[in-house]
């Protein structure tokens, strides 16, 4: 148990280290000079540009030797200083990200959790129920096979353009300023529904299929047969099978996170939803290296934390890890 955790922790730290290093490479290894890009955007007057150039080269520490830049980057991270944005010059990257993150939490957390719960319940329910298995599950396959952005585009087109029921873009109506008021919350939810649904539906399909396939194995497992032989009611048998089948689904969640992030990105892009994903696209298009760097750093951290939580959860629900075998199966 203890050693299991220490091992896990070690892996996480190492991963973080490597990921951050790659992240650090982004602005440095990009051809072209970030400062030049910045000045080009700022469209300053000739002389002004000249002065600014030397100023920002210093400000970004781009004149230091690489190893120094690397160290100072780590130092900066722990002081929450991710440099200055080019796209949103002169705002500090950290501030920009902090403003975007709530939108992600509010969009991702519900869609991931709800789809996971609902999908698993549904999959377990559909399995071995002939008519469901043959009618509804095919839809599941299609859903999970649907590219996130396409479903988003489709929903947007049908429910916002053809039948203008929901708004096509943004996280709230332009006419409303953020505030903790019912008008705003209602408006927020109204804008939230389309992006949420497109994320939810795709993931839901995946989980449903996964669970359906898992539980079929479990229902054929010896312990299930034994229960039947002892005349245990269908309910109990299925409950046990479900409990066992849910384990791989939990690990699945961890494995999926990366893809889900990408899915969220494109969904936000389609709906101009001001989360990290939308930020990243803007940053990519405008070559705002420091913003890109910051966004990825946050994604790395989010994924790592999520993974860690899932690991803990896994230990709680799967005795086989707690007992003896010290994480071999994690």
């Amino acid at each position: 148990m203890k050693q299991y955790f220490t091992r896990k922790l070690f892996i996480y730290i190492l991963t973080f280290f490597i990921a951050v290093t790659i992240d650090w490479l982004i602005p440095r290894f990009m051809p072209g000079n970030p400062v030049q890009v910045l000045l080009a955007r700022a469209s300053l007057h000739a002389e002004a540009a000249k002065e600014m150039y030397s100023y920002y080269t210093k400000a970004f520490g781009l004149d230091l030797p690489l190893w120094k830049q690397y160290l100072s980057f780590w130092n900066a991270i722990f002081h929450g200083d991710l440099g200055t944005s080019i796209l949103l010059f002169p705002q500090p990257v950290i501030k920009i990200i902090m403003r975007a993150i709530p939108y992600d939490i509010f969009l991702l957390l519900p869609s991931i959790l709800l789809s996971w719960f609902a999908g698993n319940k549904f999959g377990a329910f559909a399995a071995r129920t002939k008519w469901l298995d043959n009618t509804v599950l095919p839809i599941g396959y299609i859903l999970t096979a649907t590219p996130y952005m396409w479903l988003a585009i489709l929903l947007g087109w049908v429910l916002a353009m053809v039948f203008p029921i929901f708004p096509l873009a943004y996280a709230s109506s332009p006419a409303i300023i953020h505030s903790f008021s019912w008008i705003f919350i209602a408006d927020y939810l109204w804008h939230w529904i389309l992006p949420f649904s497109s994320l939810f539906l795709v993931m839901f399909g995946g989980w449903a299929i996964g669970m359906r396939n898992m539980i079929i194995y479990e229902l054929e497992a010896d312990y299930s047969h034994y229960l039947e032989a002892l005349g245990a009611p269908r309910k109990l048998v299925r409950r046990y099978a479900f409990r066992n089948a849910i384990l791989p689904q939990v690990t699945g969640l961890a494995l999926q996170l990366g893809i889900i992030m990408a899915g969220a990105l494109v969904t936000e892009v389609v709906f101009s939803y001001p989360g990290i994903g939308y930020l990243i696209l803007g940053a990519i298009q405008n070559q705002d290296f420091f913003l890109i760097q910051g966004c990825f750093l946050f994604i790395i951290i989010e994924v790592l934390i999520a993974n860690f939580l899932i690991d803990v959860l896994y230990i709680i629900i799967d005795p086989r890890i707690r007992i003896g075998m010290g994480g071999k199966s994690a």
Binding site: M30, P31, A40, A49, M52, P90, I105, F106, I176, H178
Partner: protein
């Protein structure tokens, strides 16, 4: 339990997003704009030229004069008048009874301060000190600019392009804060005041006691102006169609069909080219490389490109073909017509082939592409930044045209920094570029075109990326700068010389006029500027530097839809 989760998340969300009051803006008194901000509003520093929030300069901070490019007239603004009392002294009469929106009076000392600060801090105005000797405050409403060697055209540009700032606020700022501070809570003299801003928008509120109400009887109609951060084309276009933007300044593909389609959307011109020409898209040729250094080759390229296809197919007729001189329609009077007729070029593949052949470019190895006179192979690329969709399409047309006449030219789409890098360090072969916006004088164009010295181009970032080296041209550009504003004939004389050089040497090839993209919806606001006789001819543009080109007047002419 899901409910719990959601509530929890809700809580988190509002912990993050500040703003404790519920504010809903009445649609009928709000003007929705978009097309300027590529990310959340992040700066209200009018000297952050490329990045300040929409309207910071123009709605909040104001300039001494406005300039109307369509009539080529200066409109006195914070200055009541500006006159040359001697060949080297320019006297500004400052308007009285103007208040900063924090209540302080606006006086000559603010103007002096603005000029002086440009000496210490590197801002757009700084270069004026290359020829400005001193700024003297005669009295509270009179300022004299004493020049060593006045550059009239350049000055003419500064007086409407430079925001005047309040001394009582800015005097305490560090140089760094002046040049690149965020500049929150801007205090200006303008018609609008900072109201609020968040991830997706900037909100300006009407300034009830704006000086122009009484002084000029001007009254901007919208109580609020909300500028939305740019979104993807399909969202923007969708918002326009649904009348959720009143004024949009994005490049919207297919807008032509929308305008014709009767969605209540209008543009300045009812038909092609729909938009006022805002700047010229050039094809830059890198003169430091073979064979671009050969004028014959450049001529051939110029004749090989089917600009009409770019205009009609790529842009769907919302742009127009550029004059060979590259001068914008607003500068039409400066174009030396017969010179253009005799030296100009047009799409003519046969001629292009002939020129190539005449200059000794022959297809030796018969691979369908010509080789250089010295027999060396020619394989060139034309670049635009990846993701700039209309340009990406355009250079396909360019390269097809060149290939058709035997020039092996292929389109490439590097990411922006690579594009910029090759531009600044002259590593490209050919590229599209449109760095110069419309302005009060063609001098800005030629200054950009013949920027020197060539050594500094990478850091100056102000043109001549073709590396055209011609002392005569440089001299002429400076000479043009010295011509008095309004001396049309004098300007024409110099400009036609410049045109001659330009057309004979073709350091760059003007292709088309990019529009000043502007689509307006009549759903909530009407009486937008248009080419029609009975309506106003201001610029409906929210772009940085356009409010002071009559954009502000456009606001005053708006009328709520019935």
């Amino acid at each position: 339990m899901f409910k719990k989760i959601i509530l929890l998340v809700l809580l988190i969300v509002f912990l993050f997003s500040g703003m404790a009051f519920a504010q809903v803006y009445e649609r009928s008194e709000t003007l929705y704009t978009s097309g300027t901000q590529w990310g959340p509003p992040s700066s209200w520093n009018p000297y952050n030229t490329g990045g300040y929030a929409m309207g910071t300069f123009g709605l909040c901070y104001e300039s001494l004069f406005l300039y109307d490019p369509l009539t080529n007239e200066y409109i006195p603004w914070l200055a009541e008048s500006g006159e040359w009392i001697s060949s080297k002294v320019y006297e500004l009469k400052i308007r009285k009874d103007v208040k900063w929106n924090d209540g302080t009076m606006f006086t000559a000392k603010d103007v002096k301060f603005t000029f002086d600060i440009a000496k210490t801090a590197a801002i757009g105005l700084s270069p004026i000190w290359n020829f400005l000797g001193s700024v003297d405050k005669v009295d509270d409403y009179t300022v004299q600019l004493k020049f060593n060697d006045p550059l009239y055209q350049e000055l003419g540009w500064y007086i409407y392009n430079n925001p005047i700032i309040p001394e009582h606020i800015w005097a305490s700022k560090s140089t760094k804060d002046v040049t690149s501070g965020i500049g929150e809570n801007p205090v200006g003299t303008g018609a609008y005041m900072f109201e609020a801003s968040d991830q997706s928008k900037m909100v300006w509120k009407k300034n009830p006691n704006w000086w122009a109400n009484s002084a000029l009887g001007l009254d901007p109609k919208p109580k609020y102006i909300i500028d939305l951060v740019n979104s993807s084309n399909n969202v923007a276009l969708g918002q326009v169609i649904m009348g959720q933007y009143d004024l949009n300044n994005n490049f919207l593909p297919g807008i032509a069909s929308i305008v014709d389609g009767g969605y209540g959307i209008s543009t300045y011109f009812p038909g092609p080219p729909y938009m006022i020409a805002g700047n010229t898209a050039w094809l830059l040729l890198n003169l430091t490389k073979k064979p671009m250094d050969d004028v014959a080759f450049r001529q051939a390229v110029a004749h090989a490109i089917d600009v009409d296809q770019i205009v009609n197919v790529v842009y769907g007729k919302i742009v127009s073909k550029a004059d060979p001189s590259g001068l914008l329609p607003i500068w039409d009077q400066y174009i030396d017509k017969e010179l253009v007729d005799q030296l100009g070029f047009s799409y003519n593949p046969e001629k292009a082939k002939a020129i190539l052949a005449g200059a000794g470019y022959k297809d030796v190895d018969s691979d369908g592409f010509v080789e250089a006179p010295d027999g060396s192979k020619i394989a060139l690329s034309v670049v635009v930044p990846f993701g700039w969709s209309d340009w990406m399409e355009s250079i396909k047309v360019v390269s097809r045209g060149c290939q058709a006449v035997g020039i092996n030219l292929t389109p490439e789409y590097p990411d922006y920094p690579q594009y910029l890098d090759s531009k600044l360090n002259a590593t490209f072969d050919m590229m599209i570029c449109n760095d110069q916006q419309m302005s009060s004088t063609p001098w800005t164009y030629y200054d950009w075109m013949f920027q020197n010295p060539i050594a500094d181009i990478a850091t100056m970032q102000n043109g001549n990326y073709s590396r055209y080296d011609n002392e005569e041209a440089f001299a002429l550009a400076d000479e043009l700068d010295k011509v008095k504003v309004g001396d049309i004939e004098g300007m024409k004389a110099v400009i036609s010389k410049l045109e001659k050089i330009e057309l004979t040497d073709l350091p760059l090839i003007p292709l088309w006029y990019n529009g000043m993209w502007s689509q307006t919806s009549n759903a909530v606001w009407t009486n937008w500027p248009s080419s029609a006789e009975d309506s106003n001819h201001y610029l409906a543009a929210t772009w940085r530097g356009y409010w002071n080109m009559t954009g502000i007047l456009m606001l005053c002419d708006l009328e709520p839809a019935k």
